[in-house]
């Protein structure tokens, strides 16, 4: 399964809602405002690092670039993908669940 999260963890609880219920080994994509969760050095970085030990965590690079975070250090274990990678993840990982 691929879980998608698109809200900033500083404003909404979508990331926690996802992490609380994503089965181990599933993939999680952070995109739109959720890309802020992928950046190292924030208050949620440790939680995301821990998540990346149990899940395959990805971040959508175009959304980072749009927000001035293109060259930002990412939380350890989080892998950037572009839209082609997003499509590949949906194709490869089965059902897509959006945590809106």
């Amino acid at each position: 399964m691929l879980h998608t999260v698109n809200k900033s963890p500083f404003e909404r609880n979508n990331l926690d809602a996802c992490l609380n219920r994503a089965a181990a080994g599933s993939a999680i994509l952070l995109y739109e405002d959720a890309v802020y969760a992928a950046v190292a050095g924030t208050a949620v970085a440790e939680r995301v690092r821990h998540a990346a030990e149990q899940h395959d965590v990805y971040v959508l690079a175009p959304d980072l670039q749009a927000r001035g975070m293109k060259d930002a250090a990412l939380v350890e274990g989080v892998k950037p993908v572009d839209y082609t990678g997003f499509v590949e993840l949906v194709a490869a990982r089965g059902t897509a669940t959006a945590w809106l």
Binding site: M1, A17, N20, R21, A22, A23, S26, A96, A98
Partner: protein, 125 residues
Amino acid sequence: MSEEATVKKFMYLNRKAPHGTIYALEVLEMILVAAMFDQDVHVCFADDGVYELKKGQDAKGALEMKDFVTTYRALDGYDIEKLYAEKESLEERGLTAADLVVPVEVIDRAAMAALIDSMDVVLSA
């Protein structure tokens, strides 16, 4: 090749409270249509979604808004019988199954996670 129709596991995952936004109402409209398709339908309530089922709602009397919540009680008549609410979400909000307008199966977060993981299609709001 089998001529049997495809039956997929569909989940309608409600995570939003009922009246502050329109999502709960329009998800319910989706569920009523889904009932006509002979798919394996699961309706789940987690996070603020459990508030959709709270007894005693009176959006019409209080605000002239639509009392769509009563429709949940009709789901049984549409052969939609797999309703689940997450135990932790209820507890966090000081609710129990007795506070809800319809009988639901209360499952814990781990069981909810496993149920989600077993679905073919998840429609969430």
